[in-house]
Symmetry: C2
């Protein structure tokens, strides 16, 4: 039943519970943390590292939630470089807007993915059966609202990434990303103190922030030397959050209310 993964030590529980916790943490919908959500019928699927979860051009039929691991939204450029345009963390619902637009629609008119969803680590994804979700939506409009708020926050995050990549020097970009990930992980209860499990490779960080792998590595070294972070054995610790956030020009407001 429960998805067993790296995050168990950090308090991860089963898919339905995680989904409920995630939705209720948005301002939209405290009531979403309900039996109704927890008992949605979920189909669990696991993916190995670098496996494709949904491909560019697909029109995924159902709504999904990351239960364990990290999924990346990725696009390729001509030169074969990969740009990661978003991280989906445990508890993140993905492609709600697509689901919403495509639900109850014929095949040809469906809106399709403009990018590929790729498992950056081994991960577990839960899919909600369309029928049961539509029932729940009809019954509980506040849950619809919770999904929409989540989706708005994801867009805010994307804009903040653009600010980072476009306007901030390398070290601040990485610091900003770490602050973001910390707050997002905290929102689903996957932090312990100022530490959390971060199974990303340095290459994932570089591909997401528009930096070379080598430079990313140097930046990390520097941040360790400055005692801003500790990072080893897939665990990231923000040693001095205040100082890190100041350094990164980070403010958590865009991630929604505390």
């Amino acid at each position: 039943m429960a998805a067993r993964g790296e995050n168990e030590a950090f308090g991860l529980s089963d898919g339905g519970h995680l989904l409920a916790r995630r939705l209720s943490s948005s301002r939209a919908c405290p009531a979403a943390d309900s039996e109704a959500v927890r008992q949605l019928p979920l189909t669990l699927r696991t993916y190995g590292r670098d496996q494709v979860v949904a491909r560019l051009g697909d029109a995924p039929p159902d709504l999904s939630v990351v239960v364990d691991g990290i999924v990346g939204r990725t696009k390729m450029t001509r030169g074969g470089k990969r740009q990661i345009v978003g991280f989906l963390l445990p508890g993140d619902v993905f492609d709600w807007p697509l689901f919403r637009v495509n639900a109850g629609l014929g095949g040809s008119g469906k809106v399709r993915l403009d990018h590929t969803l790729c498992a950056l680590t081994r991960c577990t994804v839960a899919s909600v059966r369309t029928g049961s979700l539509l029932d729940l939506m009809a019954e509980r409009p506040d849950i619809v609202r919770a999904f929409e708020v989540q989706s708005l926050i994801e867009q805010s995050v994307a804009r903040e990434w653009l600010v980072s990549v476009g306007s901030r020097p390398a070290a601040e970009r990485v610091a900003h990303l770490f602050c973001e990930l910390y707050h997002r992980m905290k929102a689903v209860g996957l932090t312990r103190g100022s530490s959390f499990h971060l199974p990303l490779r340095q290459s994932h960080i570089s591909e997401s922030q528009g930096l070379s792998l080598v430079h990313t590595n140097r930046v990390l070294q520097r941040m360790r030397a400055d005692e801003l972070i500790a990072l080893s054995a897939r665990t990231l610790t923000l040693l001095q959050i205040e100082r890190l956030e100041a350094f990164a020009d980070f403010s958590s407001a865009y991630l929604g209310p505390a």
Copy 2:
């Protein structure tokens, strides 16, 4: 009645008509090009250059459409640099997702803007009265779908910007932006051949693509010298679209079906 602006020579008509044309150009909803849309009661407002259309922290009460000019979604960084995270062109509806989430909601729980909307040129914006729009939405669900598809496309554009800024060299970024703008302008009938009116300053291009103003200028010179574009008197001409798109690694698929 009609908004009189720079684009008149390029075929711009009044707000309602433009909105209808824009919506019907999305695959979602050919039927959206209807009297019903054209006759929505609009309130026109004009803004001078650099005036704020909606500020960070606002929760705009109604849905708006750019009728003339260009509005930028902007965020400031600590260092005082401004990053433009999106251009809103004539015909673009803005903040549909916010409208959707906030419609019929009390004051305190509303979702707020995480960035500022700023008039990059003199512009005219039409606001749709909430009441009449809600009526239309109830009556014509296909129009709701058209709004959602527009919003999905805006997100695709944002992802593509991230790819550009993160992974493409300066010249390709600018070329890619020009291809994007050309296709978007064409979709609302504001091109003539391969030319269109582009009232942006070089600083706007640089602020949007994460480049310095000086470098942007040099890139433009180079593109002129290579006879990829002609740009003067606020008119941009793509001299060899095929070649430019190839150079930019551009494919129009993400902007929706032709």
